[in-house]
């Protein structure tokens, strides 16, 4: 699975990346990986919110949203999340 380049959301306050092809993520497994790395995670069943340097939302359908309007910061956090979740 590969992730698209980041796209600024319509509200201009976050960047989003979507996986190709779309697939359902095992959020329970991802949550355990993140928590094992010391990341605080909010588990809302259909999505996780990981408290990194900025909050990052990981949806069950694979979408990742980074709460930052700074493209470079968002790229860096996306790489960090992908390495942590192992996708």
């Amino acid at each position: 699975m590969t992730y698209s380049s980041l796209r600024l959301c319509s509200g201009r306050a976050a960047y989003e990346s979507v996986p190709t092809p779309r697939r359902s993520l095992d959020l329970a497994k991802i949550r355990h990986r993140l928590e094992a790395d010391g990341v605080v995670v909010v588990d809302a069943r259909v999505l996780l919110i990981a408290r990194l340097e900025r909050e990052v939302t990981i949806a069950r359908d694979g979408r990742i949203l980074i709460k930052s309007a700074d493209a470079r910061e968002a790229e860096r956090l996306l790489a960090q999340v992908l390495s942590l979740v192992g996708t």
């Binding site: 959301c9 319509s10 509200g11 201009r12 306050a13 976050a14 909010v42 588990d43 809302a44 069943r45 259909v46 999505l47 919110i49 909050e55 939302t57 359908d61 949203l65 709460k67 309007a69």
Partner: protein, 208 residues
């Protein structure tokens, strides 16, 4: 004139709706449902700026209650059907506003809803959502179209605040129901402890 409680989102519509009620001379109390972490800090910042502007314009105290809504969203997302998530969410907003109205001695609730703008504002969903409360609900913008609302927002100076960057609600499902039935909604609410959730919301209210 009456005392009402206005739900404020930080968007374009609610400050315009509040403007009309203040212009009529009603005493108003604002309520903002703080949706973090499903959004960012921007909605609360926008509401604070909207109120600062309207306080100055109408020389009214306009207290703001900020109520935590994130934990409610988590309970709904974990336990209920996502398709009707927006209606269930809305019911908690109304209930919370009604609790604040009881505390403040207010006799009506108000919003910036206009018919059919988004999924949560279809007639069927409005009915399902507002069945959760007993106080009358006033919707000054109900027959307005978006262009009319935006024109007033620009005139009173709230448009620029509302359109600053901000994160959309992350809890909105991919395909929200536009025609919910009250029977289905009540069935979904059996999966959660409504009173306990509401008590927590009110217990953590802050006034600004």
């Amino acid at each position: 004139m009456a005392h009402g409680v206005m739900l404020m989102s930080g968007g374009i519509d609610s400050p315009v709706s509040l403007h009309y009620l203040l212009r009529q001379g009603h005493e108003m109390t604002a309520v903002h449902m703080d949706n973090r972490p499903f959004t960012d800090d921007s909605p609360l910042e926008k509401v604070l700026d909207h109120l600062q502007l309207l306080r100055a314009r109408y020389q009214q105290r306009l207290p703001l209650y900020v109520l935590p809504h994130g934990p409610t969203q988590i309970a709904l997302m974990r336990n209920t059907d996502r398709h009707v998530g927006c209606v269930l969410c809305r019911r908690f907003m109304w209930r919370s506003a009604e609790k604040i109205a009881e505390r403040e001695g207010a006799t009506f609730l108000a919003t910036g809803e206009a018919l059919g703008q988004v999924a949560s504002q279809t007639l069927a969903n409005m009915r399902s959502a507002t069945a959760a409360v007993e106080l009358p609900i006033v919707r000054p913008l109900i027959g307005f179209d978006k262009q009319e609302i935006e024109a007033v927002a620009k005139e009173i100076g709230t448009y620029g605040i509302s359109t600053r960057p901000g994160l959309c609600c992350q809890a909105v499902p991919d395909r929200p129901a536009t025609r919910s039935s009250l029977v289905q909604i009540l069935h979904e609410e059996e999966r959660i402890d409504v009173d306990a959730i509401l008590d927590e919301v009110i217990r953590h209210a802050t006034v600004m």
